[in-house]
Subunit: 193 residues, 2 copies
DNA sequence: CGAAAATTTGACATGACTCAACTGGAGTGG
DNA sequence: CCACTCCAGTTGAGTCATGTCAAATTTTCG
């Protein structure tokens, strides 16, 4: 069962007692998303927080000219949602789409808040999760400011070797903030070294 | 007294009782930072979380060629630290420097953790603070991916009108991820409209 | 007042984008 | 399981946004 993966995940950081495990089982629900399926689209309110059991999702924004910009990927044991829309309950400007067919576990906002108010543990755990995401985001911003496309590509390969293999280059380019054509040229010039 | 500003700040979001106020008074300590003074430099571990009572600070990274890249500003009623270094206790790669002479209140990591473990309130409050910072950071990343320098400059003026007036253009350019020269050209071309 | 920093300006260089055309391989329906 | 479509990847020519460097000018703060 997928829910056991989530329990094992929590258990690793904040050992859970029986009652807490039961809460998890009753509050999270499972979903299967096919390749190219969406769990969030522009103008919807992001109503759930999502834990990825297996598969791979991407979150992206679409600009005026229709170009997609990947903000985040989420694979096994990672969390994803549009935090802005989730907390403020306003329409999202983002999409969350499955790159591979995926199994996910979701929780409604009210239920997550229930967990936060009744169990200090979860509050701490989610604070730490988000602190980590914040640092990752800050690093990425810095890398975008400091490094060229080629350097960012090499850093990405080093930092996410597994992901690199699962992702088409188009998706990597969109994440790095360059065009697929330019990434192709980067790869060509790297191969000559 | 500065500490009252901090108490008023907390009080606004999470009303505090007498005991909690006393904890705040005893755990935070005041510091005066002169213009161009540092509260964090590269290779130091970031040992404190900092609340700005008055003044203005910036956090930045320095790249290979010596160029500074502003990551964040913090003025009245805002928090600043290098979260990575603070939590993992490893040497920071960032600087935090006063742009204006500032009055700040600081708390040691161990004391902050004491607050987190003994008062659910603070845990929730800091989770919300960081969620907001995360969203801000994500927005900024997106803006950097989607918009040109000129567009980002106009967005900055609109989003932070007060800050824009207090900051030299050099600092704004560094935050936007463009050179001061290029910002100057942008301003010139805007003035002709 | 005087030094240091900020701003401006111009000539030139380059990283990265756009558009269009071509190729090859992967997924899908019959 | 084959044929077909379609999408990812590649390549090249031309262009644009932004950077670099250097020098002159103005502003700011101690």
């Amino acid at each position: 069962m997928s829910i056991e993966k989530l329990i094992a995940y929590f258990d690793r950081y904040i050992p859970l007692n029986k009652k807490e495990k039961e809460e998890i089982v009753s509050l999270f629900f499972e979903n299967n998303i096919k390749r190219k399926g969406f769990i969030l689209q522009e103008n919807e309110v992001c109503k759930h927080h999502t834990f990825v059991v297996s598969g791979l999702l991407k979150m992206y924004a679409v600009d005026r000219s229709g170009t997609k910009h990947n903000i985040q990927f989420a694979s096994e044991e990672e969390w994803i949602n549009d935090m802005g829309s989730f907390h403020l309950e306003n329409p999202s400007r983002l999409y969350i789409e499955a790159i591979e067919s995926s199994v996910i576990l979701q929780i409604k906002k009210t239920d997550l808040i229930y967990l936060f108010t009744h169990y200090r543990k979860f509050n701490i755990d989610f604070r730490v999760i988000i602190e980590n995401k914040f640092m990752e985001m800050q690093n990425r911003l810095l890398q975008n400011l400091i490094y060229t496309g080629e350097e960012r590509y090499l850093l990405f390969l080093r930092q996410y070797p597994t992901l690199s293999n699962r992702l088409p280059n188009t998706q990597i380019a969109s994440y790095l903030g360059i065009t697929p054509e330019f990434l192709s040229k980067i790869r060509h010039s790297l191969s000559k070294k």
